[in-house]
Assembly symmetry: C2
Homo-oligomer: 523 residues x 2
C-alpha cells in the first residue's frame, strides 16, 4: 500500500447510499467452496510462497535485484502450479534500479554506539567509511536554513525528529471488532475522489511546504558540501519507517548519502548536540545503481477459461511484488502476492474449471505511485486521461486486490458500486465461519485496484484485519516473514479463490459503475 | 534488576500473615511533604539527571568507561547538590572492564541485509571484518553437538532461537490496575528464601543443563576453530535482549567473538539455511578489555544528620549505576539512580534538616549478582555467611531501593516485615493523590535491597508500574532515555524523598525482622 491512501482516507466525504433493491438470488457453488477450503486450509503452500518472496528474494524495491529475483521466481512457480502464459510483461519506463551493498552507522563520540538505520532509497554511497562531526539542522523555514550556511562543510547533518517514539500502552496489533465491522457494513459510500475540504487544502499546503523545504535543504546541504545526512520518518523500539519518494529517475539530480534512522538513535544525537556535547558519527553506505534496463515489468499468468463463449472474458486478481528496501516487504505486499498465488494454485489443485479466464498480475513500482497497475490498465483497458476504451475494456469482469497487510479477510469494499452488494454478500456467506462477513459500501484507496476503478472497471480491495500494519510493518525495517500469521493467509487464500472462481463462473460479468469522464481524470 | 528475580518470584510460597495489632499513630510531617512536593513536582531535575546518566555517560557495564564516567559525574553532581562526603568507595575486586569500539553484522548472501545486534558482553574482537559461511548449530544434547564436528572451521555459527518474536496483540506497556493493587495489599507475605518446590528443582535442573550445554558448545566451537557466533535471547521488532553472565574474571577462559541478535534477523538466517540456501555473514566486532583496575566501586554521599543523638544513625537509599551494554540502561537503572539523586536534591533544596544522616549509595555490578551492594553490606554491616555484626549494623534504620524500571511508585513491599505496615501506610497516605497507595506484605527480589535483608537489616523496594520493562527495556538494546516518562520519575522522587525524610526524623529506627542465622546464609 502506498502513501496516497492517507489523503484519500483522511479526506473522504460521506454521501448517502440509496437502499438496495432486492435482487434475484446469487448462485453460490457450495461443492466448489468445499474443495477450495479443503485444499487451502489443509494443504496450504501460502507460507512457503511467502518464505520465497521474503527471505529468499529479499527486499524488492522497484528496479532492484530482489525484485528481479521475485519476477523470475513467481513466473516459474506460477508455471509449476499449472498456470499458462506466465510472462514478465513490460509496462513502460520506470527508472534506475538500486541495491544496498553496505550499510553501517554508529556514533563514535562521546562514546561508541551502533545505530539502527538503512540508506534512504536511491541515495548514493558515502566516500568509504566516513567519520565526521555532527551538526543538527533544525529548520522549519528557509530563513532557518540560512543560519547554517558556512557550518556544514564535511559535516554529517542530522535533521529533526517529527514523530517521537510511542510509549506502548496500546497494542501494536489489533483485529477488527464486531462493532467496527457492523459500522463498516452500515456505512455510506464515500466518493473515490472527494471534493477538497478546507482541511484537505491546509494539509496539502503543509505537505507541499514541507516538501519544498526538504528540496531546498537538500540543495543547500549539497551546495555547502555536507558529507551525509541522518534523518528519520519515525518508528519506535528498533522499528523505523523508510521513506517514500526518491530520485529514481535516470536524470535525477544528485543528492547526499542519507541514512534513515531509528528515531531513538537520532534523538540521542540531537539531545547531546543540544546540550553542547560534540557528537561524531561514522557511517558507510555502498549503494549500486543499475541503468541497463530502465523498464518496469508485471508478472502475468493465466488459468484459461473453459466456456467457449466466456473464455475471452477475464477475471483478474493481484498484489504488488515490489516493496520498500529496509526489510523484505512481508506484509507490504508479499502477503498479498502469496495469497493471490495460493488462490490460483488452489483453483488448479482443486481441478476447478472456470468458465472465464482467470489472470493473476503481480505488479511492480506500486510504492512509487501504482505504476505497474496504472500502466497495465492504460496498455490493456483505457487511459484515464482520454477514456478512449481499448477492446479488452469490455472483457474484464473484475479485478480483486489484496494489499492491506497480512491480516485475514473480514469482508470487502464495494468501492461505491451499489450493484455488487448482493453478489458479494452471497459470495461471503460461506466464509462467515472464517470471520469474513462484511460488505461495506465504502471506498478504500492506496493500492492497485484504484488503477482499474479509475477507468470504470470493477476493482476491489478486501477488508483485512489491521494487525500491526500501521505500527510495525508498513514501510518499516520490520516488515519481515516473522510478522505473517499462517492462519490469516490461509483464510485469505480460500476467500479470494472462491471470489475469483465465482466471478469466473457467473453468467454475467460483475456490474459496473458509470464510466468516469476523461476530463475528470486528466492530469 | 538482575536475573535472580525470576527464580525468587516464581518460587515464592504464600504464608499466612498474622493480623496486625493496632499501633499508635505514626507521625507524618505535612509541611515537609508540601515542600517536597513543591520542589519535586515544580522544579524537578530528575530528567536532567537521567539524561546525563544515559545519553551522556552512555552504557554502564560493570567496569566499563561508561560506568567510570557515571562514577565521576554522580559524585560531582551530588556534591553540587549540597551533599557531603561524596566518594567512590571500593568494594572489592570485580574483574575486567570491557567496552565496545565497533559492532557491525550483516548478511551478505543470498543478498545484503544489515542486521541488528551487539557483541555479547566480555566477548573478544573478531579478526577484523570477517566474511564467512554460516552453519546453523541446533543442539539440545551433547550428542547433537557431536554431529557438527569437522564442519565448523572458519564458519560463523548461528544458534537456535528459543523465544520467537511476539505478535503484538497485548500492549507493551501497562500500569497496575486498582484491582491488581488491591490484591497485592491483601496478599500474604512470602518468605525471602522459599523452600524449594519440585517445579523449582525442575526449573533449576533445566537451567543448569542448558548452561552446561552452552559451556560444552562454547568449548567445542573454540576447539573446532569456528570464527564467531550469532545468538539471541529474544525480543521483537528491533528490540533484542542482551545476555547475563559472561567471563569478566581476569582469568576467564577464552571464548569466540559473539553477537547477540535481533531474533528476526537470526530467524531469517535459520530459515534460509534450513531451506538449503547458503548464507554468508560479514561481521566486525572490536572490543577492549581493561585490567588496570579490577576493583568495583560504589558512589556514596551524605546529608549529615542534625540531631546530636541520632546523627550517627543512618537512613540509606540507592539504585545501581551499572547497566547492560547494548543501550544506556535508562530503566535499568538510571531511572532508579536519577530518582534517588533527585530525592536527596529535593531534601537539600527544601532546606529540610533530617535528624539522622541520610546516605545515598549508587551501586555497581548489580547486574552480575548485586556485587556492589552485597560487598558494601559485608564491609559495613555484616557478612551473611558468619552473621558477625559490625558496629554500623545497629546504626542503620532502613535502606530504600528503586530498581523495577521507570514506572511511578504505586506503593511498597514490606519484605515480610509485619511491623513496618502501619508506618508505611501512614507515610504513603499523603501520596494517594499521586497514585501511591499500596503496602503489600509481599517480598520482592532481584535487586539490591536483598543485600540488606540478607543480614537482617530493613531493606525495601517500592512497587512500581511495570510500563514496558518486561517487553522492551529490561536488558535490551532499547533501554534508552526515550523510555522514561518524566511525570513518573517526578512522582517517584517525591515519594522517596518523603519516605527517607520520615525515616530520618522518626524517634525510633524502623523495626527489624529477627536476625537470620549464619548457617542459613552460608554459601
Amino acid at each position: 500500500m502506498n502513501k496516497l491512501q492517507l489523503f484519500t482516507l483522511a479526506g473522504s466525504l460521506a454521501v448517502a447510499a440509496p437502499a438496495l433493491a432486492q435482487q434475484t438470488a446469487e448462485k453460490v457453488d457450495q461443492a466448489a467452496i468445499a474443495k477450495i477450503k479443503d485444499e487451502g486450509l489443509n494443504r496450504s503452500k501460502v507460507m512457503e510462497t511467502a518464505f520465497y518472496l521474503t527471505d529468499v528474494c529479499g527486499p524488492r524495491l522497484a528496479g532492484s535485484d530482489g525484485l528481479k529475483r521475485a519476477y523470475d521466481w513467481t513466473k516459474n512457480r506460477l508455471t509449476q502450479d499449472g498456470l499458462v502464459n506466465a510472462k514478465l510483461e513490460p509496462w513502460g519506463d520506470f527508472g534506475r534500479g538500486w541495491d544496498i551493498e553496505k550499510s553501517y552507522v554508529a556514533m563514535t563520540a562521546p562514546y561508541y554506539h551502533t545505530m539502527i538505520g538503512a540508506p534512504k532509497a536511491w541515495t548514493p554511497s558515502t566516500n568509504g567509511n566516513v567519520k565526521k562531526q555532527v551538526v543538527y539542522v533544525k529548520a522549519t523555514t528557509e530563513a532557518d536554513l540560512d543560519k547554517y550556511k558556512g557550518q556544514l562543510r564535511d559535516k554529517i547533518v542530522v535533521t529533526e525528529v517529527a514523530t517521537p517514539p510511542k510509549e506502548g500502552f496500546e497494542p501494536d496489533a489489533k483485529r477488527y471488532t464486531d462493532e467496527e465491522l457492523s459500522k463498516m457494513a452500515a456505512a455510506t459510500a464515500t466518493p473515490a475522489r472527494p471534493a477538497a475540504t478546507t482541511s484537505d487544502a491546509d494539509r496539502m499546503a503543509t505537505y507541499r511546504a514541507r516538501m519544498a523545504l526538504r528540496t531546498k535543504m537538500s540543495d543547500m546541504l549539497m551546495a555547502e558540501g555536507a558529507a551525509a545526512v541522518l534523518s528519520t520518518r519515525g518508528g519506535s523500539q528498533g522499528t523505523f519507517f523508510t521513506s517514500n519518494g526518491a530520485p529514481y529517475a535516470a536524470d535525477a539530480k544528485p543528492v547526499l548519502p542519507e541514512i534513515e534512522m531509528s528515531p531513538e538513535d537520532q534523538l540521542r544525537i540531537i539531545r547531546l548536540v543540544e546540550a553542547g556535547i560534540p557528537v561524531e558519527v561514522e557511517m558507510e553506505t555502498k549503494t549500486r545503481f543499475q541503468s541497463q534496463d530502465l523498464k518496469g515489468y508485471n508478472v502475468i499468468a493465466e488459468i484459461p477459461g473453459t466456456d467457449k463463449k466466456l473464455k475471452s472474458e477475464i477475471v483478474m486478481l493481484g498484489g504488488h511484488l515490489d516493496s520498500w528496501h529496509a526489510a523484505t516487504g512481508a506484509t507490504d505486499n508479499a502477503a498479498g502476492c502469496a495469497v493471490m498465488m495460493e488462490a490460483v494454485r488452489i483453483l488448479k489443485a482443486s481441478n476447478l474449471k472456470p468458465r472465464r479466464t482467470i489472470r493473476i498480475a503481480l505488479w511492480s513500482a506500486e510504492e512509487e505511485g501504482l505504476f505497474g497497475s496504472k500502466n497495465y490498465v492504460k496498455n490493456h483497458f483505457a487511459d484515464p486521461a482520454t477514456m478512449k476504451l481499448l477492446p479488452e475494456h469490455e472483457k474484464l469482469s473484475a479485478y480483486f486486490n489484496l494489499d492491506n497487510g497480512g491480516g485475514k479477510i473480514r469482508g470487502i469494499y464495494q468501492q461505491s458500486n451499489e450493484a455488487v452488494a448482493p453478489i458479494f454478500t452471497a459470495w461471503l456467506a460461506p466464509f462467515a465461519d472464517l470471520g469474513a462477513t462484511t460488505v461495506t459500501p465504502r471506498n478504500t484507496g492506496g493500492t492497485d485496484h484504484l488503477s482499474f476503478d479509475g477507468v470504470g472497471l470493477p476493482g476491489f480491495q478486501f477488508i483485512q484485519d489491521p494487525l500491526d500494519y500501521g505500527t510495525r510493518t508498513h514501510h518499516t525495517n520490520q516488515d519481515t516473514y516473522d510478522r505473517l500469521i499462517p492462519e490469516d493467509l490461509k483464510q485469505a487464500s480460500v476467500v479470494v479463490a472462491s471470489f475469483v472462481y465465482h466471478a469466473a463462473m457467473r453468467d454475467q460479468k460483475l456490474p459496473r459503475k458509470p464510466l468516469p469522464t476523461a476530463t475528470a481524470k486528466a492530469q
